[in-house]
């Protein structure tokens, strides 16, 4: 097919209010509160990570557009910017610049462009970049520093979920308080610590109908049900669902990554299946997996099922018989 940029079909046509850049920049705006929170909690370290990610992602995107002879204007459609911001938000504040740069290049190159660019990628590009870094530099990717707002005399600091899993925080009563998780006054990835800031942005997206509400809803219900059952049977052994919602990258993942239009199902039923799969996987990994956190793996895992979910939840055409 020659890529003219237009798809010629017979009427009826539907004029869409949204365009790719409009949607993308709405997401960028929705990420602003969380970015502001990360500047507040991690200061200049956060700024450096954001800038390197932006530079790395945009440069890689530009190189690919150039090589593949695509219009350079696509560089500013906002998709690479979102990848950069989301990737930065999932990185530990103290990550050294070269690792951040490798992650951004991988995110765009292996996460998006090798599949043919925006719209063709199977996986969320930012998460591909992060997954690569997680496996390539496991020590650097799990070394956390406390936020600048906490006066603690240590260099390293465990995340709330790490505390829960490896230090037995629940038994010792040292579980991070919910209020700290809500405001963001705790350790973790740059953009994941402040639930409040993330929820503000998410409310904007939901209000604007940029994201499908079923996806965060489904993920929350599934994670809530899964962790809730264990919590109810043995509260001294398992943390509450509320803790699981607020800790780690769940809100960031459920509202900003899982609903990514390219890598999530297009049908409402499909969205429910996809989202509950994510919620369930997060619960499974957090409670019984080797890693303390599982949002990234869960989303990537469910991304692989999107084509098949789309296929089997396709709505019936009026008058068509089932199974044809």
């Amino acid at each position: 097919m020659t890529d003219t940029g237009f798809l010629l079909r017979s009427s009826p046509h539907l004029k869409a209010r949204d365009s790719v850049p409009k949607i993308m920049y709405a997401v960028v705006i929705s990420l602003m509160p969380a970015m502001a929170a990360s500047f507040y909690f991690f200061r200049l370290k956060a700024l450096a990570v954001y800038l390197i990610c932006l530079a790395g992602c945009l440069a890689t995107e530009a190189v690919f557009l150039r090589v593949r002879k695509k219009p350079m204007s696509s560089l500013w459609d906002g998709s690479a910017v979102i990848t950069a911001l989301l990737l930065a938000m999932t990185l530990p504040p103290d990550l050294s610049w070269d690792i951040v740069l490798i992650g951004s290049v991988i995110a765009i190159a292996l996460g998006k462009q090798v599949f043919g660019g925006l719209g063709n990628n199977i996986f969320n590009p930012a998460l591909v970049g992060r997954a690569f870094l997680q496996v390539a530099f496991p020590v650097a990717m799990t070394t956390w520093s406390p936020p600048a707002t906490l006066v603690i005399d240590t260099v390293t600091y465990a995340t709330p979920l790490g505390n829960l899993k490896f230090q037995g925080a629940l038994a010792q009563g040292t579980l991070t308080p919910l209020s700290d998780l809500f405001w963001g006054n705790t350790g973790g990835c740059l953009g994941e610590t402040s639930s409040l800031a993330l929820l503000l942005g998410a409310a904007f997206l939901l209000f604007r109908k940029t994201i499908d509400w079923r996806i965060p809803a489904g993920a929350i219900l599934a994670l809530g049900a899964f962790t809730g059952i264990f919590w109810l049977t043995s509260p001294q052994e398992y943390a509450s669902p509320l803790f699981h919602f607020l800790a780690g990258g769940f809100i960031l993942g459920a509202f900003f990554m899982a609903p990514d239009m390219v890598t999530s199902p297009i049908t409402p039923t499909g969205a429910w299946i996809y989202a509950s799969g994510i919620g369930l996987m997060v619960g499974l990994i957090r409670l019984f997996g080797g890693f303390p956190e599982g949002v990234m793996f869960s989303i990537l895992f469910m991304n692989t099922f999107v084509p098949i979910i789309n296929r089997y939840t396709r709505p019936r055409i009026l008058g068509q018989r089932r199974g044809t």
């Binding site: 496991p138 020590v139 799990t142 390293t156 490896f166 080797g290």
Partner: protein, 201 residues
């Protein structure tokens, strides 16, 4: 010749020639392969009980073997214990040496492992892991020091260092050693560690 007879004849011939060739190869290499295996164990014993001149198998059960190691004059230097257990990914086979009273560990060496390269696989690394095991007090079960420290002096007498990012592998190795020590004491008490020169307690 009838086709089916020919098929049988050809396959039999191919099989026989192959079998003959392989038995020759086996004759030529079997001895060396066995030697390699023994040498590996001997090397490991010398490594975990320094000064070993001769060693003798005292006790053997499934995946657990105790060797007595002796110096040139026949003086017993200690025990070398060959043991294994499940690691993070696959079985870890290791050997460690103790003094004759089973009070301190001489050193530890990892013989086989399939832990994650770059992470858990550091259990074979002298600098990152094994050097922290030398001279540990084993009258109490060993414990893991986490987060890791930078030099052996910072550890307590019964503490061993963790590999940063590979807590599970470090823990598994410690588990194998602790379990083996328990077993070693038990069989010593049962009198099964009699030295082989005629004295049976």
């Amino acid at each position: 010749m009838n086709l089916s007879v020919r098929m049988v004849v050809v396959l039999t011939a191919v099989g026989l020639i192959s079998g003959g060739l392989l038995s020759v190869v086996n004759l030529l290499t079997a001895e060396r392969i066995e030697l390699n295996r023994l040498k590996e164990i001997e090397d490991a014993i010398t490594q975990v009980v320094p000064g070993t001149v001769s060693s003798q198998k005292l006790y053997e059960e499934d995946k657990f073997t105790v060797y007595a190691s002796k110096d040139a004059s026949g003086q017993e230097l200690g025990y070398a214990v060959y043991a294994s257990g499940t690691g993070f990914q696959d079985i870890i086979v290791l050997m460690f040496g103790t003094d004759p009273a089973i009070e301190t560990i001489n050193s530890l060496t990892i013989l086989e492992q399939k832990e994650t390269p770059g992470l858990g696989a550091k259990i074979t690394d002298q600098q990152a892991f094994l050097r922290y095991w030398k001279g540990k007090d084993i009258r109490q079960p060993l414990t893991l020091r986490k987060p890791a420290v930078g030099s052996p002096e910072e550890l307590g007498a019964t503490e061993v260092n963790t590999i940063t990012g590979a807590t599970i592998s470090s823990d598994k190795v410690m588990g194998v050693v602790n379990l083996s020590l328990e077993r070693l004491r038990q069989i010593k008490q049962e009198g099964k560690l009699a030295s082989g020169d005629g004295h049976v307690n």
